[in-house]
């Protein structure tokens, strides 16, 4: 029985008729040629989030990002006037990687006045222009103005830094993020600077981990033992229903209930949660930064339900932001490393704690998040290897898995629009992932 109302069509999925309701192939999650098409038509064309502006303090602060899937490395740097720019990390002299420490394939960060190449000492200003050539008179016909670092399109939305490897991006960042660019604007991201950042290489296709984080159908089962015995029985018998789903194709969101922070009855949670006043949903006491959720951005808690707990947004193609009712946010980024491998990155962002109790509550929220993330990640390798076995060729998706269905369809739509659809006869073609 449905506990929360569904659209008039009877289901979230049928509310978007283009999605269809048929079983789906998961060959899109291991086929090497399809993976390469994703790189070429999506990852090299779309705005990709590479971090927060808070990582760049004063002018001259920089960090590098490695994109092995594109055989590229980029430097993101803040100029002294505050402008954030991105460049390919390649020296114009003879191609040495410009910014790196110890191991050339590892990311690094720091502060500098200029970038200077380790090989022959060419130097570049923070705006990428070539400032100095060692023994310049030895070169022939030098035009320094044409020898700046190669720029990468870079823009900032609400403090999130995005880059686009397309030399001429088809949309501005704000256009690409619409309607989320407006609908999520104003959230106090900039005040949540107490950050934990983790990463993990995972032996699955990048889309499988998005699948795991855009449906909560698994939660009462996979995460069963994290709840008290009584609570987990209740959760398992009820199952999961989302409060609301919405597609802003290619973006999407699911809104979910919460209500355990603080719980109605202390026996509903584990003993340490009562003492630290914290748990999976974060510290139970909201920071001043969210003003008791009085001025949430318009897209948050779309059903205006009093049991609202968390909204998970997929920002196309590989970035997620999760907003918790308790007043903090989580990000996930998924970087494809191969058809069956990806790099998962996550940040937990809290308002700076004012005392030790708040600090401990945040630490426990991190600890709990990590226990869940391990469970979520564990199933991925097991799933990846079995879909690759091709014993089963199509799989079932239910209505609570609409965002899984949609994200795969949105990927397929972009691959087909720009790639070679005839190469993927195994893909049932939807009319349009946009539906409606």
């Amino acid at each position: 029985m449905a506990h929360f109302p569904k659209p008039l069509e009877g289901s979230w999925t049928e509310h978007y008729p283009g999605l269809g309701t048929a079983p789906v192939s998961y060959k899109d999650s291991y086929d090497p040629d399809y993976w390469q098409q994703e790189i070429d038509t999506i990852f090299k064309k779309e705005w990709l989030c590479v971090g927060r502006v808070e990582r760049l303090g004063r002018g001259g602060s920089y960090f590098t990002r490695e994109f092995p899937w594109a055989k590229r490395s980029i430097v993101v740097v803040k100029d002294r006037d505050g402008t954030v720019r991105a460049f390919y990390n390649v020296c114009r002299h003879r191609g040495n990687k410009l910014v790196w420490d110890d191991f050339p394939n590892e990311e690094t960060s720091g502060v500098c006045r200029q970038f200077s190449c380790k090989y022959h000492g060419w130097r570049y200003d923070l705006d990428g222009s070539l400032a100095f050539i060692q023994q310049e008179e030895e070169f022939f016909n030098v035009d320094k103005d044409s020898l700046g670092l190669v720029p990468v399109a870079c823009d900032v939305w609400e403090g999130f830094i995005f880059v686009n490897l397309d030399p001429e991006p088809q949309q501005t960042l704000a256009e690409a993020l619409a309607p989320l660019s407006e609908g999520l604007a104003g959230y106090p991201f900039g005040e949540m600077t107490q950050t934990y950042e983790v990463r993990s290489e995972i032996n699955s296709n990048w889309k499988l981990f998005i699948d795991a984080f855009v449906e909560f159908y698994h939660a009462p089962v996979l995460h069963q033992r994290q709840a008290t015995a009584e609570e987990s029985q209740k959760l398992a018998s009820i199952g999961f229903e989302g409060l609301h789903y919405e597609l802003f194709s290619p973006h999407s969101m699911v809104s979910s209930w919460g209500g355990m922070s603080p719980p109605k009855d202390p026996r509903m949670v584990k003993p340490i949660e009562n003492l630290l006043r914290s748990g999976l949903f974060g510290p139970w006491d909201k920071p001043a930064a969210v003003n008791d959720n009085q001025n949430l951005p318009p897209l948050l808690n779309p059903s205006k339900h009093r049991a609202w707990g968390i909204d998970s947004f997929v920002l196309w193609p590989n970035f997620m932001i999760l907003f918790w009712e308790t007043g903090w946010y989580l990000t996930y980024t998924y970087w494809p490393l191969g058809p069956s491998k990806h790099l998962f990155e996550s940040t937990l962002n809290f308002a700076p704690p004012e005392n030790a109790s708040q600090r401990a509550a945040q630490e426990f929220a991190f600890s709990t998040f990590k226990e869940y993330a391990f469970q979520d990640a564990n199933t991925l390798e097991a799933t990846q290897t079995m879909i690759e076995s091709e014993v089963v060729d199509t799989f079932m998706l239910n209505d609570q898995e609409i965002l899984c269905r949609h994200h795969h369809a949105a990927v397929r739509e972009q691959v087909e629009a720009n790639g070679r659809p005839e190469s993927y006869p195994w893909m049932p073609t939807p009319a349009s992932a946009n539906g409606e």
């Binding site: 990463r199 993990s200 033992r225 994290q226 003492l275 005392n355 030790a356 600090r359 600890s367 469970q375």
Partner: protein, 111 residues
């Protein structure tokens, strides 16, 4: 830190557990994986009744200027966060089925 970490006088009963006063999440997590369930149960049983007092004690200081002894105490509370999952949920040090899965801490708030 090490087992020479000192605690405020009121918390002398926790002295046997000062090897849990570890600076980074990674160290605390590895200590958890390397501990037996008996060791973690003993740590949990000693810490839980004192946790509220530990936080009250530490809350008396500026978080950014904690005396070493209070800081050690707070680090014990952070280790309790890790040890609580094996004790309260898993009955084993590792998250079940987590095999070789691991998580790299790229950045964490300093204490």
């Amino acid at each position: 830190m090490s087992n020479t970490a000192t605690l405020p006088a009121d918390f002398a009963d926790l002295a046997p557990f000062t090897d849990w006063a570890l600076d980074t999440w990674r160290e605390r997590y590895e200590k958890r994986l390397a501990s037996s369930m008996d060791e973690m149960q003993a740590f949990y049983d000693a810490m839980m009744p004192r946790l509220t007092e530990i936080l009250e004690h530490c809350d008396r200081f500026d978080l950014h200027d904690l005396p070493d002894e209070a800081r050690n105490l707070l680090l014990l509370a952070f280790s309790l966060c890790e040890a609580s999952f094996p004790v309260e949920a898993w009955r084993q040090p590792r998250v079940p089925d987590s095999g070789s899965a691991d998580l790299e801490m790229v950045r964490e708030p300093p204490l």
